[in-house]
């Protein structure tokens, strides 16, 4: 076995300090040095599980002329980033891996699924997003890594990473949690990187509020693509796990998951329209919509709080969100929002587990409530799947991820 001297030193250091973070591999790879060869298997795409998933999809109801099929089996599939060149789709997880899904046959299925950058350890790498010029960003629990030209370099197990927010600098170490730590990102029309940061509690204590507001925990932050000039863009969110910019008016739309333990039917979930920076969306004074939290009932909410654009079913867990800009779907869907409801975990009768569509008026506000677009994963309270994110392919079809089944589905339209 041949080791690069630096790798050997690093490995020794690792062996001596097993509790050390993933800094060693990051250093080696950042310097474009190879690591040792690893076992790099692909995820099987055929067999009993694939057959069962395909059979379950026959229960999904869509508007006439739309179809759904299994695109790929991807374990723990969370948020999706489709490469601007149309070569590869990256999928985050709430565990330790990011997957690269490639349509090798160019036939509308992701027939090769492999771990992305397997030689770099990752912690809760839930949120991948792309810049238009092909830089992939992956937001982890407490780090943000940039992978230049990821769509080309992903074919090798060693991908050059650039930690634009080093480990431990996204949030204070003491605020790390597992809860509410799935962090999506987007590169905005201003070319800045936007990141959603959930706060760790059901309702945070008052001693935390000052720090959270200052750091944008329970909000959205933005920074230059090199990690500099970080600022808080929006506050008063609880656990936002999905956002997108309206290409028409540049407003940022964000779903937000609301307070648990207030009963089956309140408070409502939220879809928020973030017209500009500096707005407060009302949490923790409001626990969802206009429902006050018990913990902050006696306190006066800040002036100018912005209420949600759409109130969603309580506890349905609205996650991924995207504006449809394709031309494959009929005219009425162009410029509309597709978003997911993961499905409730704390309701006596489960709600959600579906794909929603929200139509907008010419003034940029919603025309009405969000409507179910694809449903059937909630089979009388038993989940056949739990949709997480939705993303648009280059041909105008859309992908939906499902972290219960571990799959990507493709929805397309042919009018038949």
């Amino acid at each position: 076995m041949r080791f690069h001297p630096k790798v050997t030193v690093v490995l020794l250091a690792l062996a001596l300090a097993p509790a050390a973070s993933n800094a060693a591999e990051l250093e080696t790879l950042s310097a474009m040095h190879p690591t040792s060869p690893i076992d790099w298997p692909t995820i099987p795409q055929t067999g009993a599980k694939a057959d069962q998933v395909k059979q379950n999809l026959s229960k999904i109801k869509l508007p006439p002329g739309f179809h759904i099929s299994l695109y790929a089996l991807v374990p723990d599939a969370r948020h999706i980033a489709i490469g601007p060149q149309g070569i590869v789709t990256f999928v985050g997880t709430r565990k330790t891996k990011v997957y690269a899904v490639t349509d090798r046959s160019r036939g509308g299925v992701g027939d090769e699924v492999k771990e992305f950058a397997p030689t770099l350890p990752k912690k809760i790498p839930n949120g991948p997003c792309f810049s238009k010029d092909g830089f992939l960003y992956v937001v982890e629990q407490n780090r943000v890594v940039e992978y230049p030209a990821a769509e080309f370099f992903y074919e090798s197990p060693d991908v050059v990473p650039n930690a634009i927010v080093p480990e431990g600098e996204l949030i204070p170490k003491g605020e790390e949690s597992y809860n509410h730590t799935a962090r999506p990102c987007r590169v905005g029309p201003d070319n800045k990187l936007y990141i959603q940061l959930g706060q760790p509690y059901n309702v945070p204590g008052k001693d935390k509020l000052g720090m959270y507001t200052k750091l944008g925990i329970g909000g959205i932050i933005r920074m230059d693509r090199d990690g500099k000039n970080r600022e808080v863009y929006a506050t008063g969110l609880r656990n936002p796990v999905g956002m997108d910019f309206n290409p028409k008016d540049k407003s940022l739309w964000s779903n937000d998951n609301q307070v648990d333990g207030m009963g089956d039917d309140q408070p409502p979930g939220e879809m928020n329209r973030i017209e500009k920076g500096g707005l407060d969306f009302g949490f923790p004074w409001y626990g969802g919509g206009r429902v006050r939290t018990n913990e902050y009932k006696a306190d006066t909410p800040p002036a100018g709080v912005v209420f949600p654009e759409v109130e969603q079913a309580a506890h349905a867990a609205d996650l991924g969100l995207m504006f449809y800009t394709g031309t494959m779907f009929p005219e009425k869907y162009r410029g509309a929002i597709f978003s997911t409801q993961h499905g409730s975990w704390n309701r006596t009768v489960p709600v959600g587990a579906r794909l929603m569509v929200t139509f907008l008026k010419p003034d940029g506000h919603v025309a009405g409530k969000s409507e179910p677009f694809a449903e059937g994963w909630n089979d009388n309270g038993y989940y056949l799947g739990r949709p997480v994110d939705v993303a648009q392919m280059h041909d105008g079809s859309i992908l939906v991820s499902d972290d219960l089944v571990g799959a990507l589905y493709r929805i397309w339209y042919d009018g038949k």
């Binding site: 809860n179 704390n346 006596t348």
Partner: protein, 111 residues
Amino acid sequence: MARATGRAIAALVLLVGGSSAFAADVAAGRAKALMCQACHGLDGLSKVPDAPNIAGQTESYLALQLAAFKAGTRKSETMNVVSSTLSEADVANLAAYFSAIEIKVVKIPGE
């Protein structure tokens, strides 16, 4: 020490058995488990990274932990919320249901 532990376990089992004046109902537990499935699965096998497998778990352990989450003596942002709505019967039924799921170890690394 071992004898003391043994006695403690016996006492706990008696306590759990004795606190419910009814027989635990597995079918009712299964119906109630719809509110557990998103994280633990209806099969008791974890569906999210921050929830443990509970299939085949000891009934008395499950009942004790649910009671501890409900009382707030064991802390969890999610379990404290979920367990707050459970009745004493729900706790017993859920513990009975998840413990009744049969599981099998297929492979042990290194063997």
